[in-house]
Amino acid sequence: MLGALIKKQMLEAFASFTKGSKQGKTRSPGAAIGIGLLLLFAYASLAFCFAMLAFSLCTPLASAGLGWLYFALMGSFATLFGVIGSVFTTYNALYVAKDNELLLSMPIPPACLLFSRMVGLYLMTLLFEAIVMVPACVVYWIFVPAGPAAVIFALLTVPVLPLLALSISCILGWLLALIAPYVKHKSIVTALLSVVFLVLYYIVAFRMNDLMQSLIANSEAIGGQFRTVLFLFYQMGLGAEGGVLGFLLFVLMTAGVFAIVYAVLSANFVKLATNRRGGPRAVYREKRTEARPQGRALLGKELSRFWGSSVYLLNSGMGSLFLIVGAVAALVKAGWISENITAFLAQSGLADMLPLLLCAVVCMVVSMNIVTAPSVSLEGSGIWLLQSLPVHPWKVLCAKLELHLLITLPPALLCTVVLLAVLRVGVLGAVLSVLTVCLFVLFCAAFGLVMNLLFPNLKWNSEAVAVKQGMSVMLAMFGGWGLVLLLGLGGYLWCLILPAAGYLAVCVAALGLGGGLLLFALHGWGSRRFAGL
């Protein structure tokens, strides 16, 4: 039974990667290899960032005889990363999965069902934590001679540590499940909580240099704190350095925490998974309504879905928040930005590239918004509605494009205009920059939609599967980043021999042409494809 449940979880998790369409055809080997390579690239990029962090911590701490503190710190980062990465998925997968009631109606012990779901979550958390811990171990072994015991224990730490993050995610998810029925605007509250998480994360990331200096300067005091308050990580550090007792204590404590959480959740799983109570229900009072044209009604529907789903909002619209924060930060730090960036480019002989650099930065953040990429998948089993209504599929697709533009374009323009003003870019450069950003936003919107029409996933039990795990989402995100890198690299080469303004004009033409072609494809092929899904 447990095997069958775990198999079901795995099938669901990997369905969008292994199965192609609504008919459930298996993807071609080429597509599977492509997806694998993209995943590997994303994974390697993040692992490289954490390797840099490990590199800056390893030598100073190890040379001070605080190798255990190095592992304890990296273990703490890995746990934090694992929790941030998995807490909302844990909530969705454990407590609000669509098939909870179906499975609970079967002769399956709740503990067994919970365990099968936790296996999937454990693997996800392991992936998150390995991004931090594997580079941490490798960096340590390169710079510090380690005996066989240290290597074995450090390696064993990697699969054990995720149990702690999973336990924390389960508790946080449980709290969410307990309060969710009483919260009125769930998506907004969830989004706010996530933003708080992210803000904390970025504060740590932005202040990493200061923190590193502080950590190294106060390593003895911090080590003392770890020995007492974060005892588990202290033992983990000792174990990773080859201490048998430390390793055993770490494993016992982590497994103990997990066992307690699992036991408590098992005892309450049925109640939590079927908790549908809420506050007083809203009663309808007739209000004056106005008839809207089809286009506005469809856009209104897309907006309702976007604001009504915290998963969609957070995973597909976070770039807008960063653009607004970027614009405000640029205004606050206008003097510093103007002085340093202009000076840096002048010193490098790349002063002409200022508008291009500005566009690249804004476009990189813009490409974090992937609103259209899951928008077809999100129709799910309700796609029959749009297909049976007297509305042309092109109008439906237009509404999805408009949503992307509405969410992305205003903050992108705000950020661009503020940066242009702060950096005092000339009129021609400013006009070309604005056009480049606008057309890039349009291109990303159309590209994401094309990807989702090519790789739709209409069969999901949790919205998170459509929003986070679809191949279209991954392709749209990497496609956006790849395009920015391509434009940036092309610009650098161009500026070595020709004026930068000419390159931006080429970008405008290329993005306009590319966007136009994608829209043309969506109007014809895309409409037919949507109607036939």
Partner: protein, 241 residues
Amino acid sequence: MLNIQHLTKTYGDKKAVDDLSLHIAPGEIYGFIGHNGAGKTTTIKACCGILQFDSGEILIDGLSIRQKPLQCKAKIAYIPDNPDLYEFMTGIRYLNFIADIFGVSAADRRERIRRYADLFELTPSLAQPVSAYSHGMKQKLAIISAWLHSPQLIIMDEPFVGLDPKASHLLKEMMREVCRQGGAIFFSTHVLEVAEKLCDKVAIIKSGRLIRSGTMEEVRGDASLEEVFLELEDGNAGRAD
């Protein structure tokens, strides 16, 4: 109103619907019965323009669903077997969305929403999100939304599933009212007693092929519809006019 001519639809090697022809005239309630997997839903989806078919033709009020899909869809309303509605919307928002798509005026939609929501006792719940609705409430909402634009043809797949007895009775009355006003109803059902009492005509489909159709009297003769259906299902395919 609905003219299905030699409809054929295959999934891979399997013929889901095989050379099916039916004619539903204005004022008729037409029942469509058959075992699970017989091809009822495939036929219904093809009539609604949701499913592309291999050959044949479907005409709605003289217009081809292939060539004029939007005009055809504007004349019909479709209720699927499983009401997967927009769960992120409230009931009233969903109804307004459907009314907007069909271009129903503000005054008409207000009057119709009030009338049908009151009939189905759904009015107080219209402010709640569809995700909070029970299956029966979603079915009622789907029915109200189908009636919002006063369609000429209503196509329903198992419409009585999930409805309480009062709502079922109401739906039957509403179906008769549509026909009295010159509209037509084409619906599938497994509840043969309902089909027998409600339908003017009935068609029985087996393995994608029409095995009998006509007025209720023609199809059942002196026996009950259940007896005829079971006899046909046992393999004695009879006539189809």
